[in-house]
């Protein structure tokens, strides 16, 4: 099922990207793809992407590879560099920021010494509005409709009419970041080219990317629970996979295999070789929804639900999946690759990752992750203001090895964290205060670690195992206005149909009706636009 098309990532690998990558270790080639990724070759042909200047400050213990395995670090460097000698936002005054967050909100600036210290180091008052990620699109839409934009705002990948929002309402950053101009901001220049493409529209660059690696989504497993029940941690077929799921379930003890059907559908779809959003068929495109394997993945998930291996409130419930995973109520949970460290750091459990097996033992696929999490756009302002804001973002994107990075992640040494050997350990104060969602304003490209050698090696082993199976989305580099503006509506339609089927409310044949509905409501239009 692997696409033979040249994906953007492959393209990058064949051209400058790989060469640059070889030049500097410690950098990661970000992936591309994803349903709502509008990075557009057609729409961006007449603008030069920002130069990619990898910033390799610290030599990794395990180097990145050209096919997407991330660099790994076993410990935090103790020799830190001050990337900025001055205050990047000096004179910027109040800077309002709207972004999302996944953890409970930290104390406000009035009672948060870390926030004050941050403002002091940046030289401006960061006024950050933090919205729970689940409500972010609604919040952002409302703010935009209200017309009073913040200086910096996270543009969610699923925002309806993203292209128009960016080009009409947000500042055109082209003259500041295109080509060589980006070199004024060395840490933004450290963001891989792929992740910039979704920010480029109609001959301009309208936002900064929050870049993500090609690794995508992982089926995390409670390694300790699997071992305790003597189950197979690495099933090689669907049959073995469902056996593990049944083995992990103990209804009377309130123990379940899964907490949400969506990730399981995708996982089983990967076993069956379902395309990554689109499949090229001659000059035309076939949606993943239209292949029989996708329907089978839903049917198989419904079977698993019937077998009782899902948490009873899994269907459409708003469960705190990470907490349930951490306390052992569920043992398998699909989440973004970056959740590995979050899970392992938050809960005292052994986190493992289950590589997708072939359905009958054959070769599976692994969906390439999208190149970005989201974009950060700027409110229209005079060039000096934009430059100030860019410098603030550049400061926030300072990578491992800089004092800025340590401050952003851990706060002030002695107050917010202390060194225990080579490991920075958060104090109680740091635990509550250093929780600002700055990584959703601007961030350096991800690396593995720094954490224990054991964990980084486990992460590497997983990545090396799945990278050969990576499947790109052949439409990732194509532009479809409908796919962006209707993304949320169409997703909802399909999600609702999936829930109806896996919950047993509707028979599996209702899937065809839902797909027909999807075609009518915009699917066919997207296909037409992709075929161009």
């Amino acid at each position: 099922m692997r696409s033979t098309d040249v994906s953007r990532r492959h393209f990058l690998r064949m051209t400058g990207g790989a060469g640059l990558l070889a030049m500097t270790s410690g950098t990661v080639l970000a992936g591309c793809g994803g349903s709502s990724d509008p990075g557009s070759v057609k729409a961006t042909a007449d603008v030069t992407a920002p130069d990619y200047v990898p910033y390799g400050l610290v030599k990794p213990d395990l180097a990145a590879t050209a096919d997407g395995v991330m660099a790994g670090y076993f410990k935090y460097p103790r020799q830190l560099i001050d990337a900025y000698k001055d205050k990047p936002g000096a004179g910027a005054g109040d800077v309002s920021i709207l972004t999302n967050m996944f953890n409970p909100a930290p104390p406000g600036v009035g009672s948060n010494a870390y926030w004050k210290a941050l403002n002091d180091r940046i030289g401006a008052n960061l006024d950050i509005t933090m919205t729970p990620a689940a409500d972010y699109v609604s919040k952002l839409s409302t703010v935009i409709a209200g017309g009073d934009l913040p200086d910096l705002m996270l543009i969610a990948a699923k925002l309806p009419n993203r292209a128009e929002m960016l080009t009409r309402l947000c500042a055109d950053l082209t003259e500041f970041v295109s080509g060589k101009a980006i070199r004024d901001y060395p840490f933004l220049a450290n963001l891989p080219t792929d992740s910039w493409l979704p920010a480029m529209y109609k001959g301009g660059i309208y936002a900064l990317p929050i870049s993500r690696s090609v690794i995508g989504t992982i089926m995390f497993s409670r390694q300790d629970l699997i071992t305790a029940r003597s189950l197979n941690p690495a099933p090689v077929s669907f049959a073995e996979f469902s056996e593990v799921a049944r083995g992990l379930t103990d209804a009377k003890a309130n123990k379940w295999a899964f907490g949400s059907p969506k990730g399981v559908i995708t996982f089983i779809g990967n076993m069956l070789g379902v395309p990554n959003v689109w499949k090229k068929d001659g000059d035309s495109f076939v949606s993943e929804l239209e292949v029989p394997e996708r329907k089978e993945a839903v049917a198989r998930t419904a079977e698993l639900v019937k077998q009782g291996v899902f948490h009873p409130d899994a269907i459409g419930g708003k469960l705190q999946l990470r907490d349930l995973f951490g306390n052992g109520t569920i043992a398998l949970n699909s989440d973004g690759y970056a959740a590995w460290d979050i899970l392992a750091d938050t809960y005292p459990v052994e986190v493992g990752a289950m590589a997708v097996p072939g359905f009958d033992g054959g070769k599976p696929v692994q969906r390439e992750g999208t190149a970005i999490f989201a974009l950060t756009a700027f409110k229209k302002a005079d060039p000096d203001r934009i430059k100030q804001l860019l410098r603030i973002c550049d400061w926030l994107a300072a990578p491992l090895g800089t004092s800025e990075y340590m401050f952003r992640r851990f706060g002030v040494e002695g107050t917010d964290y202390t060194w225990k050997g080579d490991v920075p350990e958060r104090t109680g104060v740091g635990e509550t205060q250093v929780k600002l969602p700055l990584e959703y304003v601007a961030d350096a490209p991800h690396v593995l670690g720094p954490s224990t050698e054991q964990r980084v090696k486990a992460q590497r082993a997983y990545q090396e195992k799945i990278v050969p199976n990576l499947l790109a989305n052949p439409a990732a580099a194509l532009y479809s206005a409908t796919s962006i503006s209707k993304a949320d509506e169409l997703d909802k339609l399909i999600n609702a149909a999936e829930l109806d089927i896996v919950s047993g409310r509707k028979p599996i044949d209702s899937w065809d009706e839902a797909v027909a509905n999807w075609r009518r409501r915009g699917g066919d239009q997207i296909r037409k636009e992709l075929a161009g």
Partner: protein, 328 residues
């Protein structure tokens, strides 16, 4: 309610102020001057009302435009009645939302509306003041919980992984499938509404009942009437205007059936069973980006509500009730 009061107050204020210039009607300027302090006190309220209720009404103009947030309202192109197509052509999802709304609304009108009246009658018949206070406090309390809390409580008690079902699973007893069961969705939300707001709803009826002249009860007793007679011939007729008033106001809300409560519980039961007009407007407009169409549906909803209030008021007048406002 608000409009009733000034009209009732007027005759008495006239009586208090002896007519100027020998019984001649005051000119409006004179009356304005006389009431200047009252008007001044009312001014902030009026300003707030205009600012936050009437000015935003102008935004309804996007129902006739292809509004997009990246354009301003004046820049968005006019599309006439295009946005109303989903209403006129009967878009299946819209129809589903409308039907759900009407069914839920009807069920709630029949089942929820009388509960506070009955509860108020029961409370009113309690002799011990102390007991009455305690009962009232207990009954009012749920009103002050937000829907998020109420829904969470129900989820934790009755959910598939809730208190009962977890216990039942351990003891091999039959499980209750209430939360997440589309067939029970309407009974579930209706009982939530009763649990949360029935106690609060008694306040206004209790106030009305407290106005009953106790001599009337005595008369009934003297004539040999029992409790039921007292209820039927004295209490209910006294609170009838209040019942009618609240019923009319409730009709105006007939197409609003608790956005928050339903939105929070849509996931497990699916949209077929749970989509109502309010959630439809939200899902289409704010989440889906179809602002114009959502505004059109919202506008229709408002118009229907207004018509219902006016019509119900008319009917009330025909039956000799005062209604929300007196005849014009």
């Amino acid at each position: 309610m608000v409009t009733v009061l000034p009209r009732r107050a007027r005759p008495s204020s006239k009586a208090a102020d002896p007519p100027v210039a020998g019984g001649k009607q005051q000119s409006s300027a004179q009356r304005f001057w006389r009431d200047r302090f009252l008007l001044l006190i009312g001014l902030p309220g009026i300003v707030l009302l205009i600012l936050f209720h009437y000015v935003p009404l102008l935004g309804n103009v996007i129902a006739f435009k292809d509004y997009q947030p990246y354009l301003t309202i004046p820049e968005s192109p006019w599309v006439g009645l295009d946005n109303f197509r989903i209403v006129i052509d009967g878009d299946p999802e819209f129809v589903n939302a409308l039907v759900n709304t009407l069914v839920i609304s009807f069920v709630q009108l029949v089942l929820v509306f009388p509960v506070p009246i009955g509860l108020a009658l029961l409370l009113n018949s309690l002799m011990s003041e102390r007991l009455k206070r305690i009962a009232q406090s207990v009954l009012y309390l749920p009103h002050f919980m937000s829907w998020v809390i109420v829904v969470a409580i129900f989820q934790h008690m009755l959910g598939n992984a809730g208190l009962y079902n977890t216990w039942a699973r351990v003891h091999d007893l039959p499980l209750l499938s209430i939360i997440g069961n589309p067939d029970l969705f309407i009974p579930l939300i209706t009982s939530q509404v009763i649990w949360k707001d029935a106690g609060w709803g008694t306040i206004i009826f209790l106030a009305a009942m407290s106005r009953v002249d106790t001599q009337l009860y005595e008369s009934v007793a003297v004539d040999g009437g029992g409790r039921m007679r007292q209820l039927w011939h004295v209490t209910l007729p006294t609170i009838r205007p209040v019942i009618v008033l609240l019923l009319i106001l409730r009709l105006g809300d007939v197409l609003s059936v608790g956005f928050e409560q339903i939105f929070l519980q849509q996931g497990p039961v699916g949209l077929d069973a749970s989509e109502v007009l309010d959630t439809y407007v939200y899902n289409r407009g704010i989440v889906g980006g179809n602002w114009g169409a959502a505004a059109a549906v919202g506008l229709m909803k408002g118009l229907i509500g207004t018509v219902l209030v006016l019509a119900a008021n008319k009917v009330a007048h025909l039956f000799g009730e005062r209604g929300v406002y007196a005849k014009w």
